[in-house]
């Protein structure tokens, strides 16, 4: 079977691809245990299982040499003082990178390595971010509008969500006096332990 080149359109303001194969929707329930303020989380959830972020994927084989790509949209909002964010993950094949292009909105990419290094890069339209191999990554929306990014990563990368679900990220992005700041995650390494 011939595998043909293709194009799709990204049009403002929504930037939903004109063609896509998968649409993933993550609501509050999928983030249980991940936000620091558990009381705020439960209060929000009681009011409704809000949509936090969406991913539109183009389907490609999960093979080295292919590039998996699509659009990530993190909606604006906070759980307590902590901004809406993606689950975040390591790649299963740690030695794989990812490139992001910020199309709209304001936010941050929170990153860390298994060796204990951490980094935060701020996102704004027109900014390109390179996440080198070994860095887990989570998008955080610190602005009043959707944070929209285009992503591409190697087809064989895979996703390891479990490590982050269990240990969290070392750093959180929270609002302090109206500004987004980086703070230590006091529960790092024991996220799962406090869930039950």
């Amino acid at each position: 079977m011939l595998d043909l080149p293709y194009t799709f359109e990204l049009n403002p303001p929504g930037f939903v691809p004109s063609h896509y194969d998968n649409h993933i929707r993550r609501t509050l329930t999928s983030m249980r245990g991940q936000y620091l303020d558990a009381a705020a989380y439960e209060a929000m959830l009681a009011a409704g299982d809000e949509l936090l972020y969406e991913v539109y994927e183009l389907a490609r084989p999960h093979e080295s040499g292919e590039l998996l790509h699509g659009i990530s949209i993190v909606h604006p909002g906070k759980v307590g003082d902590e901004y809406y964010m993606t689950k975040g993950h390591f790649h299963t094949v740690l030695e794989t990178a990812e490139v992001y292009v910020c199309l709209s909105g304001q936010g941050a990419m929170v990153m860390e390595t298994p060796e204990g290094d951490w980094a935060v890069e701020w996102l704004a339209p027109g900014r390109v971010l390179y996440v080198p191999p070994r860095w887990a990554h989570r998008s955080v929306n610190t602005g009043p509008d959707d944070l929209i990014t285009l992503f591409a990563y190697p087809g064989h990368a895979g996703h390891d969500y479990g490590t982050i679900e269990q240990q969290g990220f070392r750093k959180l992005i929270v609002e302090r006096d109206g500004a987004a700041v980086v703070v230590d995650n006091p529960r790092w390494g024991k996220m799962e332990g406090e869930k039950g």
Copy 2:
């Protein structure tokens, strides 16, 4: 050594990355033998070795799992009826893809496989192009302004320019009655033979 995440800015109208490692400039001399109208080519060259296109690269290891990325800028113009274009290439590792995001301008990506398939996709701002594994690709600027694209491809892909230098692409993009059209390349498979 810790390999840190980084960002760079792409600002209109030029979209030159705020940070880059390599700046490649291709002038008319580097395209000898590639344009159909050899007389027009020689006349232009006699008047000056004009800059046809530029590439700004971020340096990454040439390894699977990495993503080589940067910006390509093809300037506007024609050699005879044939629009300014890049040399074009196969990846040395054929089973590697490439993703392009058109940031500015109008143009086309001319593509073909070793098996004889060909494809042309038109580029405009906001359009994303996926070049699957096995497809040689060449950017062509069909508009009055710079054609500017962001590209990313697997670190182990490599570039095979020689095959295209020798055989050309099966299709050319030329101006007919003021419009860009796809025509057969009458010299396909014998480009090098006609150089001497």
